[in-house]
């Protein structure tokens, strides 16, 4: 379908690309002020275009419309015809508006946060490049262009995690993220290639239109979906490839907010939702996704309980929330997962930025044991952080409540879900509320435990304004999806579902309103209980946490040391790899490769040393050989 307005979609990624080129090439000469204006300005233009397109799309009153725009031919080899082309539909538009909006706010925040940093221009160039790649990822209408964006955001993630590369720890955190992601990308690429082998195309619409010939549970489709999910596991930090995300906190805080909370890590969720037509044909893969998601949600939340680093808590919280989204996707509630992705981008982006503001106030202190009592000192940061924490805990009226509740209800009522998966989700919700308010109480309440000579000060407006806007979005963002039960229409569900697949079996949504109310009440109660417990533990009776930690020492240590997963991976994979590499170095490289090269040289030298004796300098000797040589030649012609 052709629509002149929606064909403007190419403008959306173009602006960040221009920003990247300007800041990357002329950044140092432009000066920090111009760099900041260009960096956030291009995102603003992108956002305006995206918003305009969304309004246009909504104005069509045509559910499930898909628009394709081809920019140019990219690869054209034999049967393979690939073009750089974009697909505009409800799914990609939602992502684009969210990405450009949140990215714009975070870019503005970064002007304040990165103020005076030596790599100011480099930072904005990377951030613009990231936005460009992320937009390519979500706008693409085929798996290969998506893969380009997929790799591109991974590259930017690596560059930005190791942004302060003088510090060895940051550089290795970047490498870890890159390498772990590579494992997932391998699965993604294999999945994409298997798609091409099976369907003869990389384009979504061409693939999905061929699916009618495939029955539910088809082996090839199951293999494809599982391989694609491996990619999602890597990118979206799920078990067992989540280990890179907590380390990724080494990067500047706006990076954590944009890449490792709001956008890049949700690429896996988006990709699975985009491939939903494939996934509904593979119930086995769906089960794997649901189980991995639920396990990750619970696992990461249990680690977040005991971490002392403010950003690490948020990182594990992100992993846990991503697990939630996969849980929803796994039970076939694609729109609920995407809804949670949207609200999560708001409140988690908000909390990361607020954490950055806290660090800004305390001279880059990240350890919560050296915080406390900041409520009065940095009130704007406190209020916005509190709103974010309330939203993620699922307090009624805030965005997190609507998305989380929708999600949990779908998990319960889905034919692929059930009470057990719901229970895991509900317990995780309780843990989430607890660790979030542990963070709030440790940071903002109680006595000040700052390091000496710290003067806490509120951040400049450039930083607090994005916080306030995001806080506002965290409050009202949920009202696009008010469930029917509470008198709403669940607009976002109807908006998204037209471009998403449906499970063959019906959801038991209308099973019972009483049940839905009960479950909603229970999850709210669990969240309240979590907050109350945190209050008791960290405000009322501060000796309790230590007492409990001493009593359940083993469990506490397990959580505090992140279940020793890093150590386990180090032992199982890293050390093995080092052993193999050393063997290859000592045997293969030193002996074989070097041996061959040096041996060739030695051979020439030794034979030369032997052969030089022939040149004796005796004329009669030469004459003899001349004579014998001519005899042999004559003999050859004579006797042949």
């Amino acid at each position: 379908m052709v629509n002149s307005t929606l064909n403007l979609v190419w403008l959306i990624p173009l602006f960040p690309l221009i920003g990247f080129l300007l800041n990357g090439i002329f950044g140092r000469r432009l000066g920090d002020k111009a760099v900041g204006i260009i960096g956030s300005g291009v995102m603003f233009f992108s956002f305006i275009v995206s918003g305009y397109l969304l309004l246009n799309y909504l104005g069509l009153h045509q559910t499930g419309a898909e628009f394709h725009t081809t920019l140019f031919n990219w690869i054209s080899v034999a049967d393979l015809q690939l073009s750089v082309s974009f697909q505009v539909d409800s799914l990609s538009l939602m992502m684009v508006v969210m990405i450009t909006g949140v990215a714009f706010l975070i870019h503005v925040y970064s002007i304040g946060y990165m103020n005076g940093d030596e790599g100011f221009a480099r930072f904005f160039a990377y951030m613009n490049l990231f936005s460009f790649m992320m937009l390519i990822l979500v706008l693409s209408d085929n798996y290969i262009l998506m893969f380009l964006g997929w790799e591109g955001v991974g590259l930017c993630s690596y560059l930005l995690i190791g942004f302060w590369y003088e510090d060895d720890e940051n550089a290795s955190a970047g490498k870890k993220a890159f390498i772990v992601n590579r494992i997932g990308d391998f699965g993604f690429l294999l999945g994409a290639l298997l798609i091409f082998v099976t369907f003869g195309s990389f384009q979504y619409s061409e693939i999905f239109s061929q699916l009618e010939g495939y029955s539910v549970g088809n082996g090839t489709v199951t293999a494809i979906t599982l391989l694609l999910f491996v990619g999602a596991i890597g990118k979206s930090a799920q078990l067992p490839l989540y280990v890179w995300l907590p380390d990724a906190m080494a990067g500047p805080t706006p990076v954590s907010a944009l890449i490792h909370a709001a956008t890049m890590v949700t690429a896996g969720v988006y990709m699975v939702a985009r491939s939903s037509f494939l996934y509904v044909l593979a119930p086995a893969s769906m089960t794997v996704i649901a189980v991995v998601g639920a396990a990750t949600a619970l696992f990461a939340a249990s680690i977040a309980l005991t971490q002392n680093d403010i950003k690490k808590v948020l990182a594990y919280s992100t992993i846990s929330q991503l697990g939630y989204m996969f849980l929803a996707l796994g039970v076939g509630a694609f729109s609920a997962g995407m809804f949670h992705l949207l609200t999560h981008a708001f409140f988690k982006g908000l909390m990361f930025l607020a954490a950055g503001s806290v660090m800004h106030a305390l001279a880059n202190e990240q350890d919560m044991r050296f915080m406390g009592g900041l409520r009065k000192k940095i009130p704007k940061t406190f209020i916005t952080f509190l709103i974010g924490a309330l939203a993620i805990s699922g307090i009624p009226g805030l965005s997190g409540f609507f998305s989380k509740d929708e999600l949990l209800w779908q998990v319960y009522s889905s034919p692929a879900g059930g009470i057990w998966l719901w229970l895991v989700g509900a317990v995780t919700a309780g843990l989430t509320a607890f660790y979030m308010f542990r963070l709030i109480f440790l940071t903002f309440y109680g006595e000040a435990r700052w390091k000496p000579d710290t003067i806490a000060h509120e951040s400049p407006n450039k930083m607090t304004l994005p916080l306030i806007i995001l806080a506002l979005l965290s409050v009202i963002g949920g009202y696009v999806g008010v469930p029917a039960l509470l008198g709403g229409e669940n607009r976002i569900h109807h908006y998204l579902e037209a471009n998403l697949a449906k499970l063959p079996d019906d959801f038991t949504t209308h099973q019972s309103h009483l049940m839905e109310f009960t479950l909603m009440g229970i999850s709210v109660l669990i969240a309240m209980a979590g907050i109350f417990l945190a209050y008791v533990f960290y405000v009322k009776r501060k000796e309790l946490p230590d007492l409990l930690a001493a009593k359940f020492k083993r469990a506490y240590n397990l959580s505090f040391n992140k279940f020793y997963v890093d150590e386990l991976y180090d032992y199982l994979f890293v050390q093995r790899l080092i052993t193999i590499s050393k063997w290859l170095w000592n045997i293969f490289d030193v002996r074989l490769v070097d041996g061959l090269v040096n041996g060739a040289g030695q051979l020439i030298m030794v034979s030369g040393r032997r052969l030089k004796k022939v040149q004796s300098g005796l004329v009669s000797g030469y004459a003899l050989s001349l004579f014998l040589g001519s005899l042999m030649m004559i003999g050859y012609y004579f006797f042949r």
């Binding site: 004796s616 300098g617 005796l618 004329v619 009669s620």
Partner: protein, 100 residues
């Protein structure tokens, strides 16, 4: 007229003597003379075939060879004289500087 085999055997014998002289003798002048011997053996062969075939080309070749031999003697003897001034010897085995 003698048959051609006589001339050829004679030339071959002369050539063999020349080769032996070049390979075995140490005196440079003798070596030099042996080379002349080999050249003249070839000349004899040329003349013999020229007569046999009634073709003048062989005899023209001989003139060329003789001219060349004269030039060679001029250069060669000059070298030997220069050699003797340096080494005070005309032994072939003393002329072995050009080696590894």
């Amino acid at each position: 007229m003698l048959p051609i085999e006589y001339y050829l055997w004679f030339a071959a014998a002369l050539f063999a003597i020349g080769v032996a002289g070049v390979l075995l003798r140490r005196n440079v002048i003798i070596v030099f003379m042996s080379i002349e011997l080999m050249l003249n053996a070839v000349n004899v062969t040329f003349i013999a075939f020229s007569r046999q075939m009634n073709n003048i080309d062989g005899q023209i070749f001989v003139f060329f060879v003789m001219t060349l031999a004269a030039a060679e003697v001029a250069v060669g003897l000059a070298i030997i004289v220069a050699m003797y001034r340096n080494k005070k010897s005309i032994n072939v085995q003393d002329m072995n500087l050009l080696k590894w």
